[in-house]
Subunit: 369 residues, 2 copies
């Protein structure tokens, strides 16, 4: 994997990540394919609307179907039918957010599956071995992610563990062809964030991610930490802000110098009938759209907006029809990819501030859920 | 609408139906788009895999979103994004099979909605007016469909009502540009079927449909009635066997001289994980497919079979993923359209008997649900 910056506008950056499976452009939005599928959309359609790299979840795939299945079939690309680059996260965050009866020791994490309650033990070594079996282009270290509100001492413990685990991950990784990204933790304590970043950077990785944000903290604190952490990460490597996808937060983070983002927001909202548009959010179930012959977004040229009316999408949503989720997903992801592409052009043309100002108004207006 | 026969092989026929929205080829399989969507597939994909005409349900669309919505948006084609021909059924069968507290009078049927329990009254006039609002290319008369096992007297009453209602439908229809098909009833009494057919044919319609079959009767009786009824319908008009889609039954009916079919079988089975293949049915959840790297059907060139393994489809099914339903639907419908196309070619080449023999073996083998 190689990373080049091609433009800067203040701290905001536009770059290129070269992988063996193709080039991707930053700032990059990575749609989330939890169970080895970006929900409700085919890989063909994903490619068409501009997806460049998808994210899959090690935690989920380890539990079902099992990494052995994916390895036997020929790896995640063959399994999913997605030929472009893939990133897998290590499972650290899902163990924290989804599993039951989680017990953290120095060695790793014991937890019960959220699917069937079965008992599992994940270690840094195992997280890397699983990710080797899956065969993604970019893989992540196994980290310990504390929730918002834990004490300094607990956060310090998580930082130490995350560093130690990062070392063990790198050792296990060896010289695999897959790129390995390190994750920094440190909660909402600046000195711990600084410590974590310096330790992780010292180990040395192909890219760096900030974890442990968007875990319940207030927005101003999130934005503060976004700026603070971005400056701790090396400029010549991709900077990945994990799990953040609200576009207001994304613009904050791009301004701070982050390059990569993932979030279920566009896909989950699509399934719940909330659509992102150039005029603000649209809650498609609203009675006002009953006979509305207009497309969801007059400025969008996606398949959904070219062929279908709000009245139809409302009908599909109220009828619980799968096609509604499919069409909404196509639109919301198209909107995200267009947004990121425009943001990238704005950076290249040194008008990111104007871009941000314009979109801040839109994203805050016409907001009827 | 115009209908031409272009080949015969025994009583089996291959023909062409010309509509203002395009030409369709018979024997024709019409996928069912109950709620103005063929479940889990986009119109674009439907067109690609060979769909020529889709069916929508008047009963469902009258209840939700309401025919006024569809008329205001510009009709069913604009609403659904399906530009090819559409057929709507009259609602007679759904009133019988889905609604609650159904009360039949000479004037029409009073029933309660299966969605919200609201009270409705459908008459032949109203069924036609609704279908005019929907704007399908082919519409159906409003009939009275008795279940299997009712007495001769009750069936006779349904036949008389169906004839009287057919007259009222035709009167209401006037000289609309939409084609109007008549439906014959008569249960499992040959003289009543003969009487119904002769009365309906005397009124005169653009095509003729046989209703009231596949309502719980044993297969041999179904097949007997298929043959008996086909001979009662004029040869120069399309013959439509309503609601029959099991391919064994379809071959029986094509042999008898039927031209048009509709059924939820390929789409419903797809969502339940049952896939039709050239080697028999595949129940995709079976453990034997856990790491199976082969496509569902080695002889199929649909998007699903070209890109995805049985292992992946099994994983999607077990994970309850929408993409599984989408990919299974693409495959099952592709299989149906291929089957119908091959059947048509067999008729044109006068080898329908061989086609039928070959497929009877396949359809009965490898059947593991």
């Amino acid at each position: 994997m190689r990373f080049h910056l091609i433009a800067r506008d203040g701290a905001a950056r536009a770059g290129v990540i070269e992988t063996e499976r193709g080039v991707v452009h930053t700032p990059l939005f990575m749609p989330v394919g939890t169970n080895a599928t970006v929900k409700a959309i085919t890989p063909e359609e994903l490619r068409k609307i501009g997806a460049e790299l998808i994210l899959c979840n090690t935690y989920h795939l380890y539990l079902r179907p099992g990494e052995d299945v994916i390895r036997e079939v020929g790896g995640l690309h063959r399994f999913t039918g997605w030929c472009g680059p893939i990133l897998t996260d290590s499972g650290g965050f899902q163990v924290y957010s989804l599993s039951r009866l989680r017990k953290v020791t120095d060695d790793g994490v014991e937890f019960r599956s959220h699917i069937d309650g079965s008992l599992h033990f994940l270690t840094p070594e195992k997280a890397i071995q699983i990710q080797h079996s899956l065969g993604a282009d970019i893989i992540m270290t196994f980290d310990e992610c504390p929730p918002y509100g834990v004490s300094y001492q607990e956060t310090l413990r998580a930082v130490k563990l995350t560093t130690e685990w990062a070392r063990r991950c790198k050792r296990t990784h060896g010289d695999s062809g897959q790129a390995l990204f390190g994750i920094i933790q440190g909660g909402f304590f600046e000195d711990l964030r600084r410590r974590s970043a310096s330790e992780i950077v010292e180990i040395g990785f192909d890219g760096y991610a900030t974890g442990g944000l968007s875990v319940g903290e207030p927005k101003p604190l999130l934005h503060e930490m976004i700026h603070f952490t971005a400056d701790l990460l090396p400029s010549e490597r991709p900077r990945y802000l994990m799990g953040i996808g609200d576009l207001m937060d994304v613009m904050e983070a791009v301004e701070a110098g982050y390059d990569m983002f993932d979030c279920v927001m566009p896909t989950r909202n699509a399934r719940n009938g909330t659509l992102f548009t150039s005029e603000g959010r649209v809650s498609i179930q609203r009675a006002e759209y009953r006979s509305d012959p207009s497309p969801v977004d007059p400025n969008c040229s996606c398949y959904t907006c070219r062929h279908f009316t709000k009245a139809y999408l409302r009908h599909l949503y109220l009828s619980g029809e799968i096609l509604g989720m499919v069409l909404n997903t196509i639109h919301n992801l198209s909107f995200y990819f267009n947004f990121f592409q425009q943001m990238r052009e704005a950076i290249i043309n040194r008008r990111f501030a104007g871009f941000r100002q314009q979109w801040q108004v839109i994203l805050q207006s016409n907001f009827h859920r």
